[in-house]
């Protein structure tokens, strides 16, 4: 007799066992006919940037009928890295993955990537040196630079003028920031404050500007890092300045960590005279403040009495995954080199404000007079091209970089709530060292 219950039971048992069955048969199959697919995973959620990548893929596919680059968005940088690692473990890895700079050590240690140096390399002479330095690990170029940025000062020229300050001379040092803000406040200017979001990235930049490595062993580049330098003089100089700004009522943020858009909004609404954020936001901020006030940009203000050592590039690069036939990896590399060629980097820069990572692209932009038209765009280059290449400006390598960032941000938040700077930083160092030690113990 037909029993519905038996059927229900069978379905439920099958449902319970389904995940096991899927993982057993989860090996990817390669298509034999038609162009070979090259999978490219990226992390841009906005239409202009992801659309730009898809356009480049379409152009390259048209010129290379044997291959087809398939572009896919996999969430944030972090989610993209996780997805890539899990896919690689299941033998179903993409060919190309866009990863953020702080994930570099994790990516190398995960063992799923192949240094681009082993797949024909890249024309290293044409890449801007500080950018190339970041992605050179153990003297090996690991990934192909793509979207790079650094922080600059944004300022409200109208408020500067109102305060009796020269709008053409933005502050270049920590003490000048304080002096100018106090002068503005005494002159009765509204929003006589600096507003940068509470992000460890700025702390890292100010360490680099002081030629102070963030981690030991030459910023983790001579040997694996074992200590985070959060109680160095350079570190105290930075947090003491933020503490002083806050005590004098000259600092503002939204209260949330890493709230980029919140701090942009504070500046755009005229609630802050100074703002610090990424060059990649130049396009957005310029258009947002058009009609309300005149925007100025300057170099990242640095601690007093130090020689400007330069900035660490932020952003992302494109990594090749191991485990694919050489022919496919070479095609994948060719595609990324096409995407980041001279003209394409020029158009990428104009679209977003990210640096064009190629020297030839900078020359092309200069030749067409781009920087004369938009002097604000030049600030970023000025800062990057004058960066001294050394371990501090190459950026730190550590597997627990993401933990360290949270720890630094929470320490600064505590200082803003009244905790003593030294106590907060000593505690942060213990926590960051512990996470790093725990991470290194895996290897």
């Amino acid at each position: 007799m037909y029993k519905p219950r038996t059927l229900v039971t069978a379905v439920l048992i099958l449902a319970a066992l389904a995940p096991l069955a899927v993982s057993a048969s989860g090996q990817a199959e390669t298509t034999t006919d038609g162009p070979t697919e090259i999978q490219f995973w990226h992390a841009f959620s906005d239409a202009p940037r992801s659309g730009w990548i898809e356009d480049r893929a379409a152009e390259w596919n048209a010129a290379n009928p044997d291959f087809r680059v398939v572009v896919e968005r996999k969430g944030s940088y972090r989610e993209t890295l996780q997805a890539a690692v899990l896919a690689a473990r299941q033998g179903d890895a993409p060919h190309l993955v866009q990863l953020f700079e702080v994930g570099s050590q994790l990516a190398v240690d995960s063992g799923i990537f192949k240094p681009v140096g082993e797949v024909g390399g890249i024309p290293a002479d044409d890449y801007i040196e500080p950018v190339l330095n970041y992605y050179t690990i153990d003297d090996q170029i690991y990934s192909i630079p793509f979207n790079s940025s650094s922080p600059i000062l944004y300022y409200n020229r109208d408020k500067m003028a109102q305060a009796g300050l020269d709008p053409d001379s933005p502050p270049e040092t920590f003490s000048e920031v304080i002096a100018m803000l106090e002068q503005a406040r005494d002159a009765g200017v509204d929003g006589a404050r600096i507003g940068f979001n509470l992000h460890s990235w700025f702390f890292e930049q100010w360490m680099a500007e002081q030629n102070a490595p963030l981690v030991n062993n030459s910023n983790g580049r001579a040997a694996r890092a074992t200590e985070v330098n959060l109680t160095s003089d350079a570190a105290y100089t930075i947090v003491n300045w933020i503490d002083e700004l806050n005590r004098r009522g000259l600092y503002t943020y939204t209260g949330r960590l890493e709230d980029w858009s919140g701090s942009d909004a504070i500046f755009q609404q005229g609630e802050a005279m100074f703002h610090i954020t990424s060059t990649a936001d130049l396009g957005n901020i310029s258009s947002a403040v058009e009609g309300s006030f005149e925007l100025g940009t300057g170099l990242l203000p640095i601690p007093d009495g130090v020689e400007r050592n330069g900035v660490v590039i932020g952003g992302a690069s494109v990594w090749l995954l191991d485990g694919h036939p050489t022919r496919e990896l070479e095609a994948a590399r060719d595609f990324v080199l096409f995407m980041t060629n001279t003209e394409n980097m020029v158009s990428w820069h104009k679209l977003t404000g990210y640096y064009p990572v190629r020297n030839s692209s900078v020359d092309a932009l200069e030749a067409e007079g781009w920087f004369d038209e938009d002097p604000n765009a030049y600030t970023a280059f000025d800062q990057l091209l004058n960066t001294v290449p050394n371990p501090a400006s190459a950026g730190a390598l550590m597997g627990s970089f993401l933990d360290t960032r949270t720890i630094i941000e929470e320490a600064i938040q505590k200082v803003l709530q009244g905790t003593d700077v030294q106590a907060a930083m000593e505690e942060a160092k213990v926590l960051a060292d512990d996470r790093l030690r725990e991470y290194n113990a895996n290897l």
């Binding site: 319970a16 995960s110 209260g255 949330r256 709530q417 895996n442």
Partner: protein, 309 residues
Amino acid sequence: MTYRPIFRHPIAAAVLLVPTLAVLTAFLYFPAIQSVVLSTYRSNLLLGTRAFVGLENFRAIFFGPQAPAFWQASIQTILFALLVTGPGVAVSMVLATLAARPITGGRFYRIMLIWPFALSPAIAGTIFLFMFNPEVGVVNQVLSALFGIKPRWLDDPALAFVVAVSAAIWKNLGYNIVFYLAALQNVPPSLSEAAEIDGAGGIARFFRITVPMLSPTTFFLVFTNLAYSFFNVFGLIDILTAGGPVGGGIANRTGVTTTLIVKVFRDGFGGSSNMGLAAAQGVVLMTIAVLVTVGQFRLGGRSVHYEGA
């Protein structure tokens, strides 16, 4: 009364239990055992490493540098669970009693009270995020119009905790109310009528009749609400406060809305993906949940009134 088995053969009962057991094994028992096993390993999700370290992860969370943050998160978890469960169940009972009365549009009220349960945690979190935005949220627009104040709901530690608790209660109201409405159908109106004739007022009838008659449902709901506030609030908190803000005084080791489930996710899937450490904290969370439940059965079980028992 003699015991009359529903199934003549025990095999029939066993067969019918198989689907439930299969689902529980695949999605509950197996992962729970895996968590306990994982907690004794040093394991990193991104590196794919796995090395046995015994109780090292437990040493780290109880005595290592990360211990203060872990203790704070544990205490916050218990506080959060009690605040979500107690007031949440009480408010649900009052609302269900009011909505169960034969009034015009009663059906509409009942549906409106139940629908928050149909929302995903992420949407519930987003709704509260918009409502309590300090600058543009509707709550502060009303408050600033009426009293000229704009509280910093999401970055003041005390207020952020209250908002997170309120959002968690609101999200689960519908679930509680459905059960109470069903239970109220089974409360014989004769009891209430008799009490009314004896001169008992509405409030007396609520406390003397409704509350005791609903006690089996309350007992069940306290259990499910505790489980909900321990394990199912990650999405809501992650969207609403992201576990922040870091508190002041003794609560300055981690964000005040970082309950253990949030911390487990952060340590395991965020940061440098320390799965062993996350699993150890997950085991502690399971233990807390078991202890609280046992306590509830010991203490609460006695005061439950079963009709006809």
